[in-house]
């Protein structure tokens, strides 16, 4: 492989891998607290993208029931002024976080209160995912949504530089994705590692019973976890939607599956593992030769399979030791 191709693929892989990482962190946070996978996370990812899109454009479009509704109608204080991309992204991610909180209240808490098998909560979240996807289809239609090309300012569409006789090209949106992901990972790392909220979250994850005895409201911190998870999922949805378009209500399905691959590869419940897993899968996909790029999903999952054969606990996961 030529050096220019190596650089190009690395850039491509880091950009998409960083999105996988922040999306998968949402899975990991919930898993580390409750020990279950929230299958509705892919739907939250989709919602995040739709929320931001609608705020940026200011109205609902295409063929859903909400078609033609203007968010900022004439006479309102924000009349005719769609939000800036940055603010819309932030609000979109917050809204996605609130949806995740709602999912916790509807799909997980009732199960937990009844002491139901974790498998039931998993199935329940799968049901919520399907309902959400169908609801999106009903409300906003099945069409693809593309952010206006000037959504994040009239910036140069791509950076290009020569290596030898080949040109390496990086889309502006790839740089934005990578930087936003880095900032988010740094903030999350700080919150989890250095703040009281983070300590409480870790205590709940370690042992909810003991955390409760220490005066930590377990239910409240579970809600916070879901909010953070939804926020990260929604943000990832917006970033991917910005780069490639929001490909309809089923937009999050593939990313949902890939997010699972990322956290299993990185090690279930491990935050650094989710980041590493995301980057490894992103890079693995980017290095699939162009002529075979239609098979990149298969390559990502094949890689997962091979690594699990060698290291079943994932790259950074801890092996479960059973004392007998």
């Amino acid at each position: 492989m030529e050096f220019s191709q190596l650089v190009q693929n690395t850039m491509n892989g880091l950009a998409i891998g960083s999105v996988y990482a922040i999306f998968a962190l949402g899975y990991t946070l919930v898993f580390s607290i409750l020990g279950i996978i929230n299958f509705a996370h892919g739907a939250v990812f989709t919602l995040g993208a739709y929320f931001t899109y609608t705020l940026v454009v200011g109205q609902f479009e295409n063929n859903g029931l909400l078609k033609g509704i203007n968010l900022f109608p004439d006479g309102s204080p924000f009349s005719g002024s769609a939000l800036s991309f940055g603010l819309a992204t932030l609000i979109g991610a917050v809204l996605a976080g609130l949806v995740a909180v709602l999912i916790e209240r509807l799909a997980f808490r009732p199960m937990r209160a009844r002491g139901a098998d974790p498998l039931l909560a998993l199935v329940s979240s799968l049901g919520v995912a399907l309902v959400l996807v169908n609801l999106i289809q009903l409300l906003v239609g099945a069409e693809i949504y593309n952010f206006p090309s000037n959504a994040y300012g009239e910036v140069k569409p791509a950076l290009a530089f020569q290596i030898g006789d080949k040109t390496v090209v990086i889309r502006t949106v790839q740089i934005i994705i990578f930087l936003v992901s880095l900032v988010m990972l740094a903030i999350l790392g700080y919150v989890i590692g250095r703040t009281k909220i983070g300590k409480a979250l870790r205590a709940v994850a370690e042992n909810p019973g003991t955390a409760s005895l220490l005066g930590i409201s377990v239910d409240r911190f579970i809600l916070i976890t879901f909010f953070l998870s939804g926020f990260l999922g929604g943000l990832a949805g917006t970033l991917v939607g910005t780069a490639f378009g929001v490909a309809g209500p089923y937009f999050g399905v593939t990313y949902g599956l890939k997010g699972l691959a990322v956290i299993v590869l990185g090690g279930l419940g491990s935050i650094p593992g989710a980041v590493l897993g995301g980057l490894v899968i992103g890079l693995a996909e980017a290095f699939v030769p162009a002529d075979y790029s239609a098979y990149k999903d298969a390559v990502a999952f094949a890689l997962l399979f091979v690594i699990l054969l060698v290291r079943p606990q994932g790259l950074l996961g801890k092996a479960v030791i059973q004392k007998v």
Binding site: N9, N12, A290
Partner: protein, 388 residues
Amino acid sequence: MKPVGYVGALITAALVASASAQKVELPIKIGVALAQTSNTALLGQEQVIGARFAEKYLNARGGINGTPFKLVFQDAAGDENSAINAFQNLINKEKVVGIVGPTLSQQAFAADPIAERARVPVLGPSNTAKGIPQIGDYIARVSAPVAVVAPNAIRQALKLDPKIKKAAVLYAQNDAFSVSETGTFQETAKAQGLTLATVQKFQTTDTDFTTQVTAVLNSDVDLVIISGLAADGGNLVKQLRQLGYKGLIIGGNGLNTSNVFPVCQKFCDGVIIAQAYSPAQPSAANQVFVKDYRAQYKKDPPQFAAQAYAGVQVMVEALKAIDRKKKLSTWDLDDLRVALNKQILVGKYNTPLGPISFDKEGEVNQRDFYVAQIRMKDAKTGSFVYLK
């Protein structure tokens, strides 16, 4: 024979008698199985508009010799299972006389055999892959095969830029139509003396085309030929332009819809697309269709709407011909389905696509084809400008 055997024989005879005696219900029901949801809905929704338009227009002009007909819609979505379910519902539950659909060739290969076994005539409104009419005796199409339509786009591109020497070909490998279309494109490109510098695959569900685009840029080509659907194909066009590709782009039939405009936005500008329909087609049938369509939707009818309209029109005109010989209400449903299939194949029709007829296999005979270039007015609206 034991008593149980007699009872069984009687029940079977009764069932057979009741099945064969099933009369045609009025109004006549024609099934429409098109993609109203999924990625394919970008194409299917235009077809639904075309079919509904035909229903309204033809019923307002007397329907089937004074008897109204009714379209029964089933969502065939974008996958094979949904198309099969839609066909089964239309045939067994709705008891339609014939079906217009499904949207994709890929779905037709899965669902058409269901209709073939039930002896229900099918008219494909947008199934352009090789081998569709050969699925069976009851399968025909109003959509000209890709092998006839697609080469026109390459010839037109060479007319616009005779210096083109190297081309990149990209296609959706999980879509039967795109695979079929790319074969035609590749053969035509080679026949026109072009070098295929790279041939790459993607999936219709893909959103990230960075790898493919990077390879195209590094191949230093001056023509890109894409076979995909509107969502993925449009996104690929957008990413090609965003990453700096400046040469001509040819889009296949899957991109032949104004729904591609909001996908690739201003980057759609200049994409060349061969078409089996033009609003400029001079036939009286088309001019009436265009006038009414424009009045209602404030834009020119797209090819997918025109083909769906033609599909319904062919069914209705064939039913009219049968009705003139023997009133439709007196037919048994199964017999009418068989007669309808025969009549579809022998008739001649003046549709918005121009005059069409069918060969004995069900392949459409169409006279006029077109090549258009997309011209974007702003970020979301544009038009197909027809090239001479």
